[in-house]
Symmetry: D2
Subunit: 344 residues, 4 copies
């Protein structure tokens, strides 16, 4: 099955290349970017001798005719324009940006500060949280691939939210991400000397992933309260941890909560619920598509601490995108994604 | 004024050396450790040619006779034994471990898992949170130097707690620390290859700094609820950020909260309250004794986010210890502590 | 084909697990260590749910009977003892330590400071530099898997040495390695706070890889001079760069030298010779079995600079070990080793 | 004494601020940049509350009239233009760029690829290698502050070169630098995700510090051969190590070489010659003005290995600039520079 990638020169795009290059079913047919037409290894020398394709100009007709599926690894605000051009081609789209995610255009405008897509487009897009929406994903033509933070947050919250075990007003999500999440764009805050031996909080109470999380919570149980969602920049390249604090509505033992999570994620190959007392660290999923979850109830406060980790470029972006592509195309969802974490 | 240091070979001890070596009033009279008697630069070659002292065996009599003040940069469980030997000497003691901090011996036993000191000893020790307890510190013979996390947490919480602006049950403290906080001891979790490109949560709902924070909150307002306090290990050497989430009892504008903090810390040379929209990052206090604080109220949730950062070896340990020594000895509290942060 | 691993808890051992777990032909039959018998994920939680084997005691008879090949990922000085026990079993051995490498027992004694194996054992062992010794490897019963530095050094030097283009007395090798090369053992020099934001030279003119390199040079051309070989510790986990300086015997253009290297390594899937002006960086081979080489002649000095990079745990240890196992077992040498570098 | 800084927003400039802010004799009178006129803490929040100056437009007349000395922490190619404007003012100039360093305009043109200053200007500038040129520095009006690599290289080579102990054709300098040396400019190669867990060689045989080193060697002994000089980028912020390899003309014991270095640098407060077997690491000079040197002769090859480390922003830039300012103004050369290295 031929696939194309638009936005190959960013970190999400190059991670798609790493996965798809050895995928047993998908073939990388063409790669595109607004940059100059050079061999991809000019941009990414680690691909020298491995992937000999040139980066090409974006030709919507050709992409639509020659590929069955296109991944958009383009920034928010750019994807929306590309989607507009591809929408009437007979091609499946998986968009890694935020442009297709929010159903309410006002939310998009408010949190992204950009012009939203037409509501009828976003309405038809399926939110690609693979573990929870696989039935819709199978039928979808367009996938809004989830954000990195929302993926780890929602996989962590789903069991207690859907089972209505917690006070919805109590949700506090403290997220920490490696810098690859900020992309390859040039800005002072991404310079090595500014990030190294440093740790920063950013977009306090303003992060655009907030409404994405709230929208999914609302979808799940028909009501949602505003959550507190904070994001920090880690002095490392790959990985996200979200530490979540929620007030349980009644007393629960840690063991029972863990059993609940284990039951719910039992059939999910990419979610690993850790045993009691064992909490995942970020490196333990590096380069893989896993989301690992650890849990503990503090009997003193009645609060549950949920810790979830992902590789932001994998389960938080390219990995989940390929997982969704697998599901859309009727393949096993793990196809081409059986990476063992790289440790150390 | 002659001072001694016991426990010179740990990171807290060597940071005391850095400060005291150029302190205008204190003179390092002797340095002690249980390690072999070698020149200090054998352990720390960066001191070659700067500090030519030998590490000496611990001789309580000599220390008591020859020095006016002794810093104990020894681990919890060790300090208590040393304090026992020094208690009847005529010498002021500043203990950087947790052994003198908790007034309730049961708390110590429960959270530290070690034998507590006699209650009459801990009762006489003054908790050395310099900005808030300077009057008691002036009179003190023995100082329990605060823990690193409690310092950044309590300086961040004090204004809203003391002014009773928040729901005490709502306090969630999400702490992140560099690895120097774990000391120079050999354990697998402190190896470079385990910490680098990694981020871990540890001691979930079990960290021994929890009762220390709660005790101070209780002291301030006569009541306290159990707090949620989490700690994470950052892939960096120096620095702590505590991100704190508290529910305000009524509506507050961010600006007014910031003004409140500015007023309260106005006369405190080491606390810098940042303007609205400006949040401190950890590197911005590196090598200095500052505690920087940023604030934001989320009107959607009524929750206040408080961000405080310190250098864990400075304001979180050796820096505050010297600040307390200054106060005890009637010096200006900034004496020998006017370090500009090292950036980048 | 069943294989066993002895020394599974070190970084070389766990990298073998990562490779062999998905190898199309080899099956991990048993894993052994002197540590307690626990599930491997207790030691390495990133393997939770992936590899459910227990670490077992070392039982030489069982290993010899049940497996066709055993990897020894044990330290120098330990491997020699294990080899002694396995030598008369009908099992192929690939030893990742230095114990089988040096043919001259005096050299081993001098540079390792340990008791050498019997000369008849080391004489029968084949030095597993896959690209150059594949014929002998095919026939070998015991493989001395090359050291990390020697692998990158020898692949870089081979073309100019074997073609006698350089003054043998002029060879200066300046090596830099990530800390995973120092293993998972506990020592102060491997602590995060000592390695991070630091760069050290170590074992100056005393590194045990020196005679290993010289022995191979001698083998290649029947003469060798002592080389200068320096090693430094990088503040990173994975990867080695060796920068090599050699005096050319006559004038050469950079282009011609590059052509020579390209010709020689043309059929070698894991050696990538870079085009002029393009030098490999260490991250560009991370997690892969590649050795990338860059070259430049300085016409001012007549000196050639050779830059080679490898992932020390892959081509420098476990990767080359599996490459050798492939060759020994008549498989394609790339079998199970087609990892795209993880970037960024 | 009033001083001005032009180019305050780069890393060299902000390091000058850190030093001068607490210098006992110099007063920061004005700070300048081509950036917008904002408080300096807008650019560098770690200075919040410490330095309340605004960045100002560059006004040559005012600088010349009001300050006694100006530091140019501007890039090569920019400094030359500023020097042109200040040359006829009655003000001492210390230029941290490369623009005043090379006496031969052709060298500048060749290695920098920019338009050189008038030869009469560069001829009058004194090369500010403080330890070796203090007499000329005392008399100088304009100082060409040495490059970072040349400082560590020349301090390491001086004793054996000036005493003619080595074969001049044999000099190989393998340099490694932290990323702060690349400045705060935006380019892909300085992004965190590109530098972290990476190690790169750059400007192979093309680095502009090569002729600077060769010019000084020539000055010292009236002859010089082209040297081999390589530079690598370390995944860390501060610090340089140069590992130097030179062929001794006759046999020397390591001890005698060390004694020679100790004698030569005996009166130099910022050069620390380490004892035999002890080699400096980069972190051991972090934040200080030290240059530490370690030495070892390999009897097998007759080659001497010289290891020198500096903090590239201190002894390699701002620290040496202030040291030169001290010397020019008749102060003790250590004035305001007695920083103990920050460790860990």
């Amino acid at each position: 099955m031929k696939v194309s990638i638009v936005g190959t020169t960013g970190y999400g795009g190059v991670e798609l290349l790493r996965i798809l290059h050895q995928h047993p079913e998908f073939v990388i047919h063409s790669i595109h970017s607004t940059k100059e037409e050079v061999p991809i290894w000019n941009e990414y020398p680690h691909l020298f001798g491995l992937i000999n394709k040139n980066i090409e100009e974006i030709d919507y007709d050709r992409i639509g005719e020659e590929s069955e599926l296109v991944f958009l690894a383009t920034p928010s605000g750019v994807s929306s324009k590309i989607v507009g051009q591809l929408i009437d081609k007979n091609i499946k789209i998986i968009d890694l940006s935020g442009d297709l995610r929010l159903k309410n255009p006002n939310d998009y405008q408010l949190w992204y500060g950009k012009e939203p897509l037409n509501k009828h487009v976003t309405d038809e897009a399926v939110y690609g949280l693979s573990e929870w929406n696989s039935e819709e994903i199978k039928q979808a033509q367009w996938i809004a691939n989830p954000g990195c933070y929302p993926t780890s947050t929602l996989l962590g919250l789903a069991p207690v939210v859907k089972n209505r075990l917690i006070d919805l007003k109590s949700i506090v999500v403290d997220g920490k991400s490696g810098t690859s999440g900020a992309g390859r764009g040039l800005n002072k805050g991404s310079l090595y000397a500014e990030v190294n031996e440093n740790f920063k909080i950013y977009k306090v109470n303003e992060h655009q992933h907030t409404p994405e999380i709230e929208q999914q919570l609302q979808d799940w149980i028909g009501e949602a309260k505003p959550i507190t969602f904070s994001t920090h920049l880690l002095p490392m390249t790959r990985g996200i941890m979200t530490t979540m604090y929620v007030q349980l509505l009644k007393e629960w033992e840690t063991d029972r909560i863990i059993d609940l999570y284990k039951d719910i994620y039992d059939q999910q190959p990419f979610v690993r619920v850790r045993p009691r007392g064992n909490f995942p660290s970020v490196k333990e999923v590096c380069g893989s598509n896993f989301c690992d979850i650890g849990l503990d109830v503090d009997q003193r406060t009645g609060r549950l601490t949920i810790v979830s980790v992902i590789d932001n470029l994998m389960k938080g972006a390219a990995g989940q995108a390929v997982q969704n592509a697998n599901i859309m195309m009727g393949l096993d969802q793990t196809s081409g994604l059986k990476f063992t974490p790289l440790y150390p």
